[in-house]
Amino acid sequence: MPKKYGMIHDDNLCIGCQACSIACRAENRVPESVYRLQVHIKGPEQLPNGTLKYTYHRQSCVQCENTPCVSVCPTKASHKDENGIVSVDVDLCVGCLYCVAACPYQARYVDPVTKAPGKCDFCKETRLGRGEEPACVTVCPTDALIFGDLNDPKSALNKVLSTKVTMRNKESLGTNPKLFIVPNRRGGIES
């Protein structure tokens, strides 16, 4: 059975250290002027008891199941593989940047060298083939990131999905993302 790779970002465990974004840059040789992954930090917000709260947002591709970027691409350069990972075949790309505009998560950038769009591909080309987890997941010091196969009921990913409250961004658009977020347990949730 093909895999269906997904990921969880736990806002309660994340400390905004950016280890993941640096690991991503190093592993995938992402040029300096662009990024595949950043953690955007919001806050601080003061809670009623005087303590401070930060919110962390993983700014990267959410690996949509219904992919706007793939359906608009005129040459099928943007494609979703059998394991559900969305990536760009640079050789086929003409650089119309339709996909960059169509992505509702602003997850794509234009590579300054190839001039084709680039994006997170769960380290498909680099680590997954070797049986390793994506770079960001490996380096996270608090285990805020969990990677796994949604089709495998016993995966660590599914275990968390079955025991914790999770949400996905911009679900109203019908993109069906495979990045799940465990929202901050403290303070109010902005919906």
Partner: protein, 202 residues
């Protein structure tokens, strides 16, 4: 992107103007003939200019030919490319019929173009099938740019079914305006020669 939207709309609008005037008023009737000719000439010229600019709008212009041989039928852009495959040659043939004497007899390229005269002749002077298909594809090209934008639902402003209609209307109005201007600039003498009743411009 910006220019192709405008020029494709203008081209489609000019083709529609030319055809509608022709259907309503008929050929060789001043002052309408100038308008028909201007539209027939504008349609292929502006679409070519637009496509040319489009290629340089790509971040990888040297790879543009991949757009012509790889298709994704869920992409509005692919559908547009296929539409242009039909629209562009048709607009050229339509213009060639309108300018037959100049192209093949009096113009500077008459010698070069002689071999093609037979093909244009065989189509006839008022081919209904060609005109109707051209009109249909002009409408398709006119709304295509609207669909191109409205497919991006990450922008709530673009994501409306009204957008294609809006683009068609704007293309038609720019096509009419450009045809009138072009007709006045280049086909005015012809209009005067035929001693029109209604003065076409000053």
């Amino acid at each position: 992107m910006r220019f192709i939207f405008f020029l494709a709309g203008l081209s489609a609008g000019a083709a529609m103007t030319s055809l509608m005037v022709k259907w309503i008023e008929g050929n060789n009737k001043a002052p309408w003939d100038g308008l028909i000719k201007a539209g027939a000439l504008l349609a292929p010229l502006t679409i070519c200019l637009g496509l040319f600019l489009l290629i340089f709008d790509l971040t990888r212009p040297l790879h543009f030919w991949k757009l012509l041989i790889h298709y994704n039928f869920s992409s509005v852009m692919t559908l547009g490319v296929l539409g242009l495959f039909i629209y562009t040659p048709l607009s050229f043939i339509y213009a060639a019929i309108k300018f037959k004497p100049w192209l093949f007899e009096t113009g500077p390229f008459a010698g070069l173009l002689k071999p093609f005269k037979g093909i244009i002749d065989s189509i006839g002077d008022n081919p209904a099938w060609l005109e109707r298909t051209l009109f249909l594809f002009a409408v398709i090209i006119g709304i295509y740019t609207g669909f191109l934008l409205s497919a991006m639902y990450s922008y709530p402003l673009f994501n409306t079914p009204l957008l294609p209609i809006l683009f068609l209307a704007s293309g038609l109005s720019s096509g009419v305006a450009a045809s009138i201007l072009f007709g006045l600039l280049f086909f005015k003498s012809e209009v005067n020669q035929k001693k029109c009743q209604i003065p076409f411009g000053a």
